[in-house]
């Protein structure tokens, strides 16, 4: 017998349809059976389990465009189990894992490994990107067709830019034949050889600088190639004001271009690095205040489509070192929702627009249009959260195996109460 669960007394939020109304939602088995303001107006029938949402927000589970899951090869930093628990605690019900593992996910067997491990853990839905080039070495493109058939949600060299213009041209061109998108880390690698944003702070700290131009040059080049090939292109974690402008112009031209950013780029600046705080060492680096504001504006006007967690776990050994030697990246699964909500709380974005950036829009970019929305017949991937509840991020309490968060001790607002994947509760706030 199919289990039925009624989520009553909820504030239903569906960014895909613009729904923001009190009501209820019925889950039957793995699917949403019905939802709306008038559902269960006459009471919940017998035999239906009831979850009283207490007036809190019930929204589609978050779809994370980009995260590292540690396996295979980096299990000391994170495993699919710990990444899944962290994601679930963050209200994420589906994520796309980057291929920068060891070995790199550049063949069908690698994709199948991720899929199998995700099935075994039965936490959140884990999809995987495949590498654009073999071993992400930047020279030979991978078997896009076979990999797409095996479930790759897109192609990216993840942490590395596809630096060779000819390889990028061919990748965009070839991927378009399979209806696939190339996801680029837009950073000219030679210009990006420093360890933080180029400028006064880097000069004071005596650290090698990464100029904004490293991002802009790569974006400009890639967009020319998109024009040349007619390919589909997604720029990951935009961090600069001019980067936003370049994307804006490309979209105005009608190119098949999308982009995202990550919370550090709208919530922090290079000044947060302070005295060599390595947890703030990110790729791309944290930029200046003008860039931060431009990222917020880009999100508000839709130039920046989505917000990804950019979850990149590192153990202590990789971070408790001098800044230049420290690894790039921070964990982000568990802070994605509250930091995204911060944009709404501050009035920078309407609540539904903020939620769209972490639900239906990333799902669409990944070609998973069934996800990230509340729709009868759609999968019951839900997040119940108290949008106004204040809490303080505490690194040591994160579910991720690594605790390298940029937001330790930051007061935030918006607590995940329950995360549901295919009708199963995978996280419930204690």
């Amino acid at each position: 017998m199919t289990t039925r669960t009624a989520y009553i007394n909820a504030r239903l939020l569906d960014p895909a349809t613009g729904l923001d109304a009190p009501g209820a939602l019925l889950v039957e088995g793995e699917r949403i059976a019905d939802l709306g303001p008038h559902l269960f107006a006459d009471g919940v029938p017998e035999g239906v389990a009831v979850v009283d949402c207490g007036g809190h927000c019930l929204a589609p589970g978050l779809v994370d465009l980009r995260a590292h899951v540690g396996e295979p090869g980096f299990e000391h930093d994170e495993t699919i189990a710990t990444a899944g628990r962290a994601a679930a605690a963050g209200g994420i019900t589906a994520l796309a894992a980057l291929p920068n593992t060891d070995p790199v996910i550049d063949d069908v067997a690698g994709l199948e490994f991720i899929a199998r491990r995700a099935r075994e853990e039965r936490l959140v839905k884990i999809f995987a990107y495949a590498a654009v080039t073999r071993e992400t070495a930047g020279s030979q493109i991978t078997e896009f067709g076979l990999l797409a058939e095996a479930g790759a949600v897109g192609f990216t060299d993840g942490l590395h830019a596809v630096a060779d213009a000819l390889v990028m041209r061919r990748a965009l061109s070839y991927a378009s034949a399979h209806g696939q998108t190339i996801f680029q880390h837009p950073e000219e690698p030679r210009l990006a050889s420093g360890s933080m944003n180029s400028g006064e702070v880097a000069t004071r700290l005596g650290l090698g600088g990464i100029p904004a131009a490293a991002e802009i040059i790569m974006l400009e080049r890639d967009l020319r190639l998109v024009e040349l090939t007619g390919g589909r292109y997604h720029a990951a974690h935009i961090s600069t004001a001019e980067g936003v402008e370049v994307i804006r112009r490309a979209k105005a031209k009608g190119l098949a271009v999308t982009c995202d950013t990550a919370p550090p780029y709208f919530a922090l600046t290079e000044v947060d690095i302070g005295d060599y705080r390595t947890f703030f060492k990110l790729s791309p680096p944290l930029r200046g205040e003008m860039d931060r504001r431009a990222i917020v504006a880009g999100l508000a006007d839709g130039t920046i489509d989505a917000i990804a967690s950019d979850h990149l776990p590192h153990d202590q050994d990789s971070k408790r070192v001098p800044f230049a030697q420290a690894a790039f990246g921070a964990v982000g699964s568990e802070t994605l929702l509250p930091l995204t909500l911060e944009l709404a709380h501050k009035g920078a974005l309407p609540l539904l627009r903020a939620l769209a950036a972490v639900t239906c829009i990333p799902a669409g970019i990944l070609g998973l249009s069934e996800l990230g929305r509340l729709r009868p017949g759609g999968p019951a991937d839900l997040v119940l959260f108290d949008a106004g509840r204040p809490w303080v991020v505490e690194a040591e309490k994160l579910r991720s195996k690594s605790k390298n968060t940029c937001f330790d001790r930051r007061p935030v607002q918006g607590l995940v109460l329950r995360t549901v994947v295919d009708g199963r509760t995978v996280h419930a706030c204690a």
């Binding site: 006064e200 004071r204 700290l205 650290l207 005295d275 408790r320 001098p322």
Partner: protein, 318 residues
């Protein structure tokens, strides 16, 4: 007296010039002046650091700085141990922290650290109980070098205030330049940097300096011409086309020096690349070059720093 002095120098470590006040700097320089005299007198050893241990932990080679610190510690009667570690063998930074923890367990009083990465001494200072002195970290700071430069200038010019100081050469990679920029600004000097654009860090003008790409304008009416060492690897086409070209445009010779004030001092943190950043005739000009005096005063400055930073450890009787 000791309590008063500790209040006067309210820092547990010396990690950089940035963060010091003019009063802090004056205090160090005044104390160092006394040590210059001690070093020049026959009874140059005292017992101020008696029973205390100073460890020189050098992850980068530096005979001159290490020797200077060693002499400083020994002249104050302290025990001094030199430890070196090949930077390349310390790939994983945990080794750096492990090293610090290990040394900490041995109850040191002062750890003098040189490291190829900016911020490494700060990282160490958070893991040890003793005082840490930064003896040069990456392209960040080299505070005792700036202090000894300041002492040299002050002894010749009487003050730093109002002087025009031109720092010339590889500003981008130079911790000496950064520490000097901070110190000279704190003390009221006017600072210029003179370098080709490839050897200047981003937004350097925001550090309170005038930026010049030409020695002719950069050195004009300068009271002090401070040359920097150019690492040989910078000359192989990435930053500069050639050594010959660098010397032609940025090497200090009498022609370029002619626009500076006639009594301008010539300084260099050493070791010098003669014929690259400085002409031998200028470097050895006994009337204008104070390069060897810088080395001499370096010991006194380091004695002053060791003295100030260990006052808390020595108790009132020291």
């Amino acid at each position: 007296m000791d309590t008063q002095d500790m209040t006067a120098f309210p820092h547990r470590h010396l990690l950089g010039i940035e963060g010091l006040t003019a009063t802090d700097v004056e205090l160090i320089l005044d104390l160092a002046d006394g040590y210059v005299e001690q070093n020049r007198s026959p009874g140059r050893k005292s017992a101020i650091l008696s029973g205390l241990t100073v460890v020189n932990l050098f992850f980068e080679n530096s005979t001159r700085t290490r020797t200077s610190f060693e002499l400083a510690a020994k002249r104050l009667g302290g025990d001094c141990i030199n430890m070196s570690s090949d930077g390349s063998s310390v790939k994983k930074g945990e080794s750096l922290i492990d090293t610090a923890m290990t040394l900490n367990a041995m109850h040191l009083d002062v750890l003098v650290v040189r490291h190829q990465e900016s911020g490494a001494p700060l990282l160490l200072s958070s893991k040890v109980n003793c005082a840490v002195i930064n003896a040069g970290d990456g392209a960040h700071e080299h505070p005792t070098q700036a202090l000894l430069d300041a002492l040299t200038i002050r002894r010749h010019k009487g003050t730093l205030r109002g002087l025009t100081v031109a720092i010339c050469g590889d500003i981008l990679h130079s911790r000496v330049a950064r520490s000097n920029i901070h110190l000279l600004n704190i003390m009221g000097a006017r600072v210029r940097v003179v370098a080709p654009p490839t050897l200047l860090p981003g937004a350097v003008d925001r550090l309170g300096v005038e930026v010049h790409h030409s020695m002719a304008t950069g050195l004009k009416d300068a009271d002090i011409v401070m040359m920097l060492r150019l690492q040989l690897e910078r000359m192989q086409g990435q930053y500069l086309p050639s050594q010959r070209e660098y010397f032609r445009f940025y090497g200090l010779d009498y022609d370029k020096l002619a626009v500076a004030r006639p009594d301008a001092l010539i300084m260099h943190p050493g070791p010098m690349n003669r014929g690259v950043e400085i002409d031998s005739l200028v470097a050895d000009d006994i009337h204008r070059s104070v390069i060897l005096e810088q080395v001499e005063l370096g010991v006194a400055v380091r004695m002053a720093c060791l003295d100030l930073l260990t006052r808390g450890h020595r108790g009132t009787g020291a």
